[in-house]
């Protein structure tokens, strides 16, 4: 689908984008949402943030509480369906809207969910393939040493792999130092990490060992859930790694403290 877009004529000057902030960015890391807005504007979009947004419903949904998720999904659909595009700085929340709302809902709501799914994109895929943000050809090679954590939903539900890497290269001159076993889950899994903490901790340690092995100073990724988990475990284990959301890196925000670090 994305290749198609690349072959078409350039997009109209002002794409109207609604940002779905995600609850984790709203509560724990507003800088991710501000960075997203900045990047979208840099790509020539007109960004609005629907004010009545809260959460996409993943916690209840993943726990199997479909009854609580349905009204929440309907609320999100009603809020966002008038937008031209919806952009989400999270693979798992975008995956929830694009893949799971249509599975969860039926009848007219399913149709509405499918329509919303067709115009909802994760941030990096939108910037790269839809808005086609201009590369900074004069961006000097960055001195930052960065590795990238692929979020499972981004990777497997949305086929996001190259887009964030290309953006880091083209906008910031950052060449990603790749992780071994990059397609393996970091152990977050939403409520999983709190329900089965010991297993989750082992999985995060495996991920951290691969992170440390790259020698990178910064770990980035497109999903705050994973990043909060990995940062928290690194800090508990005394492993030195700065964890930052990819939107922050892409817009050059290095002033905000890394996740879980004081000022």
């Amino acid at each position: 689908m994305n290749e198609q877009h690349q072959d078409q004529a350039p997009p109209p000057q002002r794409m109207r984008v609604s940002l779905f902030v995600t609850c984790l960015a709203d509560l724990f890391r507003p800088s991710v949402a501000f960075a997203s807005i900045k990047l979208l504007e840099q790509a020539g979009c007109e960004v609005t943030v629907p004010l009545q947004q809260t959460c996409c419903g993943q916690p209840a949904y993943n726990s199997g509480d479909y009854e609580s998720t349905v009204p929440l999904a309907q609320q999100v659909i009603a809020l966002l369906e008038t937008a031209d595009y919806v952009v989400v700085p999270s693979g798992s929340c975008a995956g929830m809207i694009c893949h799971h709302y249509p599975k969860l809902l039926q009848g007219e709501w399913r149709d509405r969910a499918l329509k919303l799914a067709a115009k909802t994109f994760e941030l990096t895929i939108f910037l790269k393939d839809i808005a086609r943000i201009k590369p900074q050809f004069d961006a000097p090679p960055s001195t930052l040493s960065v590795t990238y954590h692929d979020n499972c939903a981004a990777l497997r539900e949305l086929n996001i792999k190259e887009q964030p890497r290309q953006l880091l290269q083209q906008l910031c001159g950052i060449k990603v130092n790749e992780l071994q076993q990059s397609e393996v889950c970091c152990g977050f899994g939403g409520t999983f990490c709190a329900k089965m903490p010991e297993i989750s901790g082992k999985m995060t340690d495996d991920k951290l060992n691969h992170v440390i092995a790259t020698g990178a100073k910064i770990l980035t990724g497109g999903d705050l859930g994973c990043l909060l988990n990995i940062a928290g475990r690194a800090q508990r284990q005394g492993k030195e790694i700065e964890v930052r959301h990819v939107a922050e890196l892409l817009c050059g925000d290095m002033d905000t403290s890394p996740i879980g670090e004081g000022r």
Binding site: V21, C23, A25, D26, L27, F28, R29, P30, A33, F34, V49, L51, Q52, Q53, T54, C55, G57, P59, A60, Y61, N62, S63, G64, D65, P71, L72, Q75, C152, R156, E157, E183, C185, G187, G189, G190, T191, F192, C193, A194, K195, M196, P197, E198, I199, S200, G201, M203, T204, D206, A231, G232, R233, Q235, R236, T256, S257, I259, G260, G262, R263
Partner: protein, 474 residues
């Protein structure tokens, strides 16, 4: 089916502390996916094949009554006796009856998950029979008095050294040291060769039953199943009623998926099709052959929302690719079917009450569904089981109410935003210096293993609204 999945967390905790086993599991978690990927990479039409086999499997299950009765008719015509068993008890008794009719004392057994499911070995041993597992991994596990920890690699949890010590205890080794892996294999080969030649009854599983001609398909690499099928006077083929495929070609198409997904081979060493007893002119082979076909909940699963799980071909790719399986190993699941497939199947074959922790042993990472050659949406089925868990109120109350409260709040944006703004501000104040918390009330699941990152000062919604207001005033 015997199981102890209710202690999954304790089992897992114990497994995580066994560093030797953890290392071997990590190795499988690293190597098995690479081997599978290489095999599939060299086959352009793999996805198309997967789709084709899925359609054929669905078609067979949609018309299972037709195909099963066609199979039965053909198998009887081929000279077999075909038996049906509703549950493990009936299944085990049927097999014991056959053995007793022949005054059999020694049984040579090929690998069969179905007989693991019914606990056949201990049942027959209880009746005084001598049952010998002949697949090397199964033999090792049987000698050690354990259960398999993996569907295709039963002794994955054991090191070569463990096995050497086991053979030293169980075999008369004399001065032999069995230093190399190949020495261990030869030792087992020599011991088991006698069993093959002496057994009166052979018991094997089947990867598929073929409706059009009444053959069963058996896929192995060791050839032990074929020795069980050809040397003893009586052969019993054990499988479940859902394994029927319309045509022989369909079984071969399935074997294309199976070998690549299980071991990365284009075809396993031995793919054998058996039709029945010795024919006129044959100079070897069994004189009497039986099929024992088990239901054990399959007919119920077929009419449930979980019917896709019956399309599983038991390749174990979902185990090898599951980070939870490779972290805790098969025994932690407390069921002979571990990993993602087991976490769906175990509750369906036993009860959700006994095994509701298993569907929670999942991060929804989706890797199992990605590699599943039968294209089974395992994470969806696991989530559906968590849905049932909630309805049956089996999950901890605090979780259920907590998530319901969160979902309710999220449906009331103004209240949600006011409360989160207050909460976040408090958290920020408490944690701003260090930037994180080592302990937090209500988040002990999180903070038992990791620090909790402190939030930035305000919620995005607060900041954004303030900014909008400022812009408007300008």
């Amino acid at each position: 089916m015997e199981q102890h999945s209710d202690t999954f967390l304790a089992n897992a905790s114990k497994a995580l502390k066994n560093s030797g086993q953890a290392e071997r599991r990590d190795k499988i978690g690293l190597l098995a996916p690479q081997i599978r990927a290489a095999a599939i990479h060299s086959f352009d039409g793999f996805d198309e094949l997967r789709q084709h086999v899925k359609e054929v499997r669905q078609h067979s299950l949609n018309n299972l009554d037709y195909y099963l009765s066609q199979f039965e008719k053909e198998a009887v015509q081929n000279g077999n006796q075909v038996h049906f068993a509703r549950d493990s008890e009936e299944f085990n008794s049927l097999i014991l009856d056959i053995c007793q009719q022949h005054d059999a004392r020694r049984i040579a057994k090929g690998k069969s998950m179905v007989t693991e499911e019914t606990g056949l070995n201990s049942f027959l041993q209880g009746a005084g029979l001598n049952v010998r597992e002949t697949d090397l991994g199964e033999y090792i596990v049987q000698q050690a008095g354990e259960t398999p920890s993996h569907i295709v690699r039963p002794a994955l949890h054991k090191s070569a050294n463990d096995i050497r010590e086991l053979f030293q205890q169980k075999h008369d080794l004399g001065a032999r040291k069995l230093d190399k892996t190949s020495d261990l294999v030869v030792e087992a080969r020599n011991v088991l060769r006698k069993d093959f030649l002496q057994a009166e009854v052979g018991v094997i599983g089947a990867n598929a039953l073929i409706a059009e001609n009444g053959y069963s398909m058996l896929v192995t690499n060791e050839g032990n199943g074929d020795l069980c099928a050809n040397l003893p006077k009586v052969l019993i083929v054990c499988t479940t009623i859902d394994r029927v495929l319309p045509r022989a070609e369909d079984a071969s198409a399935m074997s294309r998926l199976l070998a690549r997904s299980a071991t990365g081979q284009p075809q396993s060493c031995y793919t054998s099709f058996y039709s029945g007893p010795r024919r006129e002119g044959d100079i070897d082979g069994p004189l009497e052959t039986h099929f024992v076909l088990l239901d054990n909940e399959r007919s119920n699963i077929l009419s449930s929302d979980y019917r896709e799980i019956l399309e599983c071909i038991r390749c174990a790719a979902c185990l090898d690719h599951c980070p939870i399986y490779t972290s805790v190993g098969g025994h932690a699941y407390g069921s002979i079917y571990p990993g993602p497939i087991g976490s769906v199947l175990t509750p369906l074959l036993t009860s959700l009450e006994q095994s509701h922790l298993l569907p929670n042993a999942c991060t929804s990472c989706g890797r199992c569904a990605e590699v599943c050659p039968a294209d089974i949406p395992l994470p969806d089925l696991l989530r559906d089981l968590r849905h049932e868990e909630g309805i049956k109120k089996l999950s901890p109350q605090r979780w259920r109410y907590g998530l319901k409260l969160h979902a309710w709040l999220a449906r009331h944006p103004p209240l949600y935003q006011t409360l989160t703004a207050i909460g976040i501000r408090i958290l920020h104040r408490l944690g701003r210096k260090r930037g994180r918390f080592s302990r937090l009330p209500f988040a002990d699941g999180w903070t038992s293993q990791r620090d909790f990152p402190a939030p930035q000062e305000n919620t995005f919604m607060q900041l954004y609204k303030a900014k909008m207001k400022q812009n408007n005033e300008r």
